[in-house]
Amino acid sequence: MTSLDDNSKEKLRSVSVDLNNDASLVIDIPDALCERDMVKFTVHTKTTLSSFQKPDFSVPRQHEDFIWLHDTLVETEEYAGLIIPPAPPKPDFESPREKMHKLGEGEASMTKEEYAKMKQELEAEYLAVFKKTVQVHEVFLQRLSSHPVLSKDRNFQIFLEYDQDLSVRRKNAKEMFGGFFKNMVKSADEVLISGIKEVDDFFEQEKTFLLDYFSKIKDSTAKAEKMTRSHKNIADDYIHISATLNAICAEDSVGVEIRGLLEGRVASDQELKLTELLRYYMRDIQAAKDLLYRRARALANYENSNKALDKARLKSRDIPQAEEHQQQCLQKFDRLSESAKKELTSFKGRRVMAFKKNLVEMAELEIKHAKVSLTAHPIKHTV
């Protein structure tokens, strides 16, 4: 069982802000267990709401349960005008596991110390992946609990409370919805969104902005990941250098000091943080784009209903139904637009604040880290 103390959770939370402000529903993931390929999260809820059976309770959940919850929310008509928080990505231990395997194979060719250090590094990497996946699942739930509408969702409550295995429900849900929404040609959404005749300036601007920003942030995420990987490679090199130097000049004090300094240069969290932020908001912006898509569909539906009404009038047939249908489409579209406007505005604010928090923390960490390695430096310097 791996426990995350409050301190480290606080550090991890700079991806999203303004969560868990409402004391009426407080969710966290205090524990998680890693078994082979599966992670079991302990979802803990503290609530003052009467809709729940108990004020304080915990349930075990798997990643697939989170996906089920996300998908049911996406496929709920009522929430068409909301940005549904992006689903947490599947826990991926592939990279550290592969490295651990390679390390095992190469054990014979390195010294005991080197092997121990590399193993330590890998275990830290493993732990980092683990912490990251817990955080991302936690943030997903907290986004829901801090949303005025989504927090009241029935399935959300089931997810938090139901003390049996959810997998039965998951299967039923699949049969019910058939996942047809997801199977729809998603690539058409870009065309649809950009093709629509926009009368509302706000949405026109949002559309332009989101489409462009998404491609840019996707690119930045990929480039950030590459840069972070380079840092990691260098950190691994330093471990090998350090171990070999130790073998050469163990008693030589210079060797010891340079090793100490080199080890301090191991890739730290700052670059990783920025990569995490970019990755998260890339997914969030995709969710915002999905909202625009749904609105575009609603608008298309309304326009189609208009055409149908005209046709009905021409044919003098089924006019009341056509009128009714047109009214419904218009109402739906208006409700959706109103909701979407609110969502997108608060999304912008949230995003800017999250970036600010992350960038400030990153800069502070860079400075702190560099200063620490300076004071540990054996050579006297004047600052």
Binding site: Q205, F209, D212, Y213, K216, I217, D219, S220, K223, A224, K226, M227, R229, S230, H231, N233, I234, D237, Y238, H240, I241, T244, L245, A247, I248, C249, D252, S253, V254, E257, I258, L261, R265, K348, V352, F355, K356, L359, V360, M362, A363, E364, E366, I367, A370, K371, S373, L374, H377, P378, I379, K380, H381, V383
Partner: protein
């Protein structure tokens, strides 16, 4: 006092000053210039010497030398001095690729790096030569430093590519294959030899990893530059003004980081990697020096065995009663007795010389490693200080986001 290294550094400086006062020779290799055109073109380096020693004609002087001149010097010294158990510093290796690039006149970053690498290596080679008390006295060294036009060196073909190391290894193998094994009561030489071999292996291993570090650091440079551009694009796309500005600033900071990484990569290579490469070659030279002693011993043993044969031949002749052949045999015995004595003295002398050389070498090596590592750490330190300044400048921009 946590500044043990500073204390050590001070004593290092003191040692340097002492060394300077007794050896007072400063050489520098600078200003490579292309001479000629096409496939006959070559690089000429400025070799400047400053010395107060009376053996030189003046206190400061300059000559121009090309790469093959350096190789020629090494050849001459090898032939003369190695018999005395001297450790001759090896010169940098020939490189067909590098040379061709120079002739063709390319000035891309890798060609520039090659030239700088070679210049620095030639300088270190000369510095090691002149700081060796025996080699400094060699007239060929003086001629190399002083003479205005040096006759072109021939016979440098043997030193192409990895030729030098191959040469030592081959010779070393040949020596060990000799059937007569030395029976030493003093295990100093055998122990030391094994130490040298082990250390060479360690340095090779270290060199591989440092090479990896250099490459990864160069990759980091590229990836950081690409990331910086991507950040700038993102900043342009951002519709919140303050965040947009902050992202653009971040892109600039990352550009500066790339610059830092470039400098660090140069430091990794020129200070750390080249140090290791030098000592891998030097340790091979040390092994060669041990081999000289073994050869000397062989010669002595062979002479003894020849003397023995001559004595047996004399005994036979005594029986056969051939007076003039007998006279010749006696003369040969005298000659070989003298040789045996001479070779034994040679062997002892070489042994002492090798011992002295190795101890001197070890002292130099420790000094060299310490000073290079100090340089490396200093470079890192400066890099850190600049890094702090960059991020401290960025921080208010990040805080200003609203």
């Amino acid at each position: 006092c946590f500044n043990w290294l500073r204390c050590d550094f001070c004593s290092l400086q003191l040692e340097e000053e002492e060394a300077k006062s007794s050896f007072d020779v400063d050489v520098a290799v600078t200003n490579p210039e292309k001479v000629g055109d096409g496939m006959n073109a070559y690089m000429a380096y400025k070799v400047s010497t400053r010395s107060s020693l009376s053996m030189f004609k003046s206190k400061a002087f300059t000559v121009r030398r090309r790469f093959s001149d350096f190789l020629g010097l090494y050849e001459k010294l090898s032939v003369k001095q190695s018999l005395h158990g001297c450790i001759i510093p090896p010169p940098p290796e020939k490189s067909v690729v590098g040379m061709t690039k120079m002739k063709v006149g390319m000035d891309d970053p890798s060609s520039v790096e090659f030239l700088e690498r070679r210049r620095a290596a030639l300088e270190r080679f000369l510095q090691r030569v002149v700081s060796h008390p025996l080699l400094l006295q060699d007239p060929d060294v003086r001629e190399f430093l002083e003479r205005d036009d040096l006759p072109r060196a021939v016979n440098t073909q043997t030193l192409s590519g990895a030729g030098f190391l191959k040469m030592i290894t081959k010779a070393s193998d040949a020596v060990s294959k000799m059937t007569i094994k030395m029976n030493e009561s003093d295990t100093w030489f055998e122990d030391k030899f094994q130490e040298v071999e082990a250390e060479e292996q360690q340095l090779r291993k270290l060199h591989v990893v440092v090479d990896s570090l250099v490459n990864h650091r160069k990759e980091l440079c590229v990836n950081t530059a690409i990331f910086a551009k991507s950040m700038a694009m993102l900043g342009n796309s951002e519709d919140s003004t303050a965040l947009s500005r902050a992202l653009s600033q971040l892109a600039e900071v990352e550009d500066k980081m790339e610059q830092l990484h470039q400098e660090q990569a140069a430091s990794d290579f020129f200070i750390f990697a080249e140090l290791l490469a030098d000592y891998i070659r030097l340790l091979a030279a040390v092994r060669g020096c041990f081999d000289q002693r073994v050869r000397s011993w062989q010669r002595w043993q062979e002479a003894q065995s020849t003397l023995q044969k001559k004595r047996e031949a004399e005994a036979k002749l005594l029986w056969a009663n051939k007076p003039d052949k007998l006279q010749q045999a006696k003369e040969e015995i005298t000659e070989w007795e003298a040789r045996v004595t001479q070779y034994e003295r040679d062997f002892d002398r070489v042994g002492m010389a090798v011992r002295k050389e190795v101890l001197r070498f070890e002292k130099e090596k420790t000094k060299d490693f310490k000073s290079q590592i100090v340089k490396y750490l200093e470079a890192m330190l400066q890099s850190q200080q600049r890094l702090i300044k960059f991020w401290e400048a960025f921080l208010p921009e990040a805080k200003a986001i609203a």
